[in-house]
């Protein structure tokens, strides 16, 4: 109950922050950029519209998760409202979880709206509804949930600017960590290779949530991959939230 209240308040706060204006930017980018790129290309312009649309949802969602997530806790501390909140019988873990769920709810609503706009644009070009696109968007949403947890973790111990930078770094690492596999193959067996392997396993792999290529090219997606990617996201998010709770419960606000 307490978590739900905090979550709903976070959502209201996001609405007050005019976050829905981002939707207009999304529509503009989707319409103009896909039209512009489709004009430049030779061949399949629907593919480009799909690519731009999916990338925009992912990018705008990521911006939302990072920019809003990194300020969530800091704002409460900065405005001293955290004292009022924590004076009530609320655990710090509940506070963090409520904030997390509130932002996830905001991102979910924004993703649904962006998806509706994107599907409409796509429909106007193809006159068919491609349901498979929704699968890619669903996994983009899972990735955004994880990114929200990341932003919240950094927000629990540092300033919004630094937390944004760290989160952005996390996002980049998450999308480039697959290249470490190539490095591991080239390193001779030994302590270095083992260390690299551990690092590779622990570092986030956000490519697990990237099904854009498969969906756009209509390639088969193994069910096992969908399953493991989803559970991976759940546990990684849980790990980040637990870490955030551990950090936050030691935090001194005075």
């Amino acid at each position: 109950m307490k978590i739900t209240t905090i979550a709903l308040n976070t959502f209201k706060e996001a609405k007050r922050d005019r976050v829905l204006y981002l939707l207009f930017f999304f529509v503009a980018v989707c319409l103009l950029f896909s039209r512009f790129l489709a004009l430049l290309t030779v061949g399949d312009r629907v593919k480009i519209i799909k690519d731009v649309g999916l990338a925009s949802i992912s990018l705008f969602g990521m911006l939302m998760a990072i920019l809003m997530g990194t300020g969530l806790v800091y704002k409460e501390i900065d405005k001293k409202t955290i004292f009022t909140l924590l004076a009530k019988p609320i655990h710090r873990a509940e506070f963090l979880l409520g904030k997390f769920l509130g932002l996830v709810l905001t991102i979910f609503i924004m993703t649904v709206l962006m998806t509706a706009v994107f599907m409409l644009i796509l429909f106007l070009h193809t006159f068919t509804v491609e349901w498979k696109i929704l699968l890619a968007i669903l996994y983009i949403f899972f990735e955004l949930c994880l990114m929200t947890a990341v932003a919240l973790l950094f927000s629990s111990f540092t300033t919004p600017i630094l937390a944004s930078l760290y989160s952005l770094a996390f996002y980049l690492i998450g999308h480039l960590s697959w290249s470490m596999e190539m490095l591991i193959k080239k390193v001779k067996s030994g302590a270095g290779k083992t260390a690299l392997r551990v690092l590779y396993t622990v570092l986030p792999d956000l490519e697990n949530f990237n099904f854009k290529t498969e969906v756009v090219h209509n390639l088969p997606i193994p069910m096992k991959l969908l399953g493991t990617s989803f559970i991976y996201g759940v546990f990684y998010t849980a790990f980040l939230l637990l870490l955030a709770v551990l950090v936050f419960r030691r935090r001194d606000f005075v």
């Binding site: 997606i221 193994p222 493991t228 991976y232 990684y236 637990l242």
Partner: protein, 290 residues
């Protein structure tokens, strides 16, 4: 006191529980990561290539980091052309390398590597020439581009006319190494421009400070002269046979019948070898075995 102690115990228990949950989640997502990596995914290698606009437009979009973007595209291109699953990867070779050229025209490596990929991977000499010509157009002071193009024309196509033209371009650029002149002279000889070949080898012989280069130049001069002489003598021998119905007994007969003014000697001052049975005229020694 007791209440405080039990409160501390509770906090400690909560912390331990959190740490335990943290470790469990770490272990689980690590295990899932390994599981996920085991599932093979269908990829479309190189599908992003259609997003590379022309270099002219891209340059405006780099916000002053055109050199860095050129580096990135070049590095990416090396990886891209190492991906053998992309069957039609050479279709965009010129496009990709022209982007790098537009972004950083003075970046020499991409032209050279692009040409190497074109000739040895794509087996498309014309494409290699296009890339190297582009390099020369953007860097008129770089002899390496026409030199490499000449080498491709000579070694891969055996097109000595084209090789000669490229070597000439390379030779005219200040800083070109001496070997370019030698290659030009050789290509001139192979295209039967004997006069030019002679003059060029003579220049090499006269200007070189190194004995081994002088020796090479002298051997080539020997070859040019012996080729010209044996071709002239062979022609005269044929005319003699047409006129008298037999091969001349010796080369002196050509002088006596007025077909030539005098019997030439090779560069070493030795007589050419003549076989009266076959009418064949050849130098006393092989030019490269002297």
């Amino acid at each position: 006191m007791e209440a405080r102690s039990s409160g501390q115990n509770l906090l400690r228990r909560q912390r331990n529980l959190l740490v335990f949950a943290l470790l469990v989640s770490l272990a689980l997502f690590s295990w899932l990561k390994i599981q996920t990596d085991r599932v093979s995914r269908t990829r479309v290698p190189g599908s992003s290539i259609i997003y590379l606009p022309s270099g002219k437009y891209l340059k405006h979009m780099t916000f002053g980091y055109s050199g860095l973007v050129a580096d990135i595209i070049y590095l990416w291109a090396i990886q891209y052309y190492g991906t053998y699953e992309i069957a039609d990867r050479f279709k965009y070779l010129q496009h990709i390398f022209s982007i790098v050229a537009e972004l950083d025209p003075k970046y020499v490596d991409p032209y050279e590597v692009g040409a190497l990929i074109a000739i040895y991977d794509a087996h498309d000499a014309e494409l290699a020439f296009k890339i190297l010509d582009m390099g020369l157009e953007k860097n008129p002071d770089m002899w390496i581009f026409p030199f490499q193009a000449g080498h491709i024309a000579q070694m891969n196509l055996k097109d000595f006319d084209r090789a000669r033209e490229y070597y000439r371009k390379a030779m005219e650029i200040p800083g070109a190494p001496p070997i370019v002149k030698r290659l030009y002279a050789n290509a001139s000889f192979r295209t039967m421009n004997y006069q030019e070949a002679w003059e060029m080898w003579k220049e090499v012989y006269e200007t070189s400070q190194e004995d081994w280069v002088k020796e090479i130049a002298y051997n080539h001069l020997y070859r040019v002269k012996s080729t010209v002489d044996t071709e002239a003598l062979g022609g005269a021998v044929k005319i003699y046979r047409d006129r008298f119905g037999r091969w001349p007994a010796d080369l002196g007969q050509l002088v006596r019948t007025g077909l030539i003014k005098e019997v030439p000697k090779d560069l070493d001052g030795k007589d050419y070898v003549y076989d009266p049975k076959t009418g064949e005229v050849k130098p006393a020694r092989l030019w490269w075995k002297r």
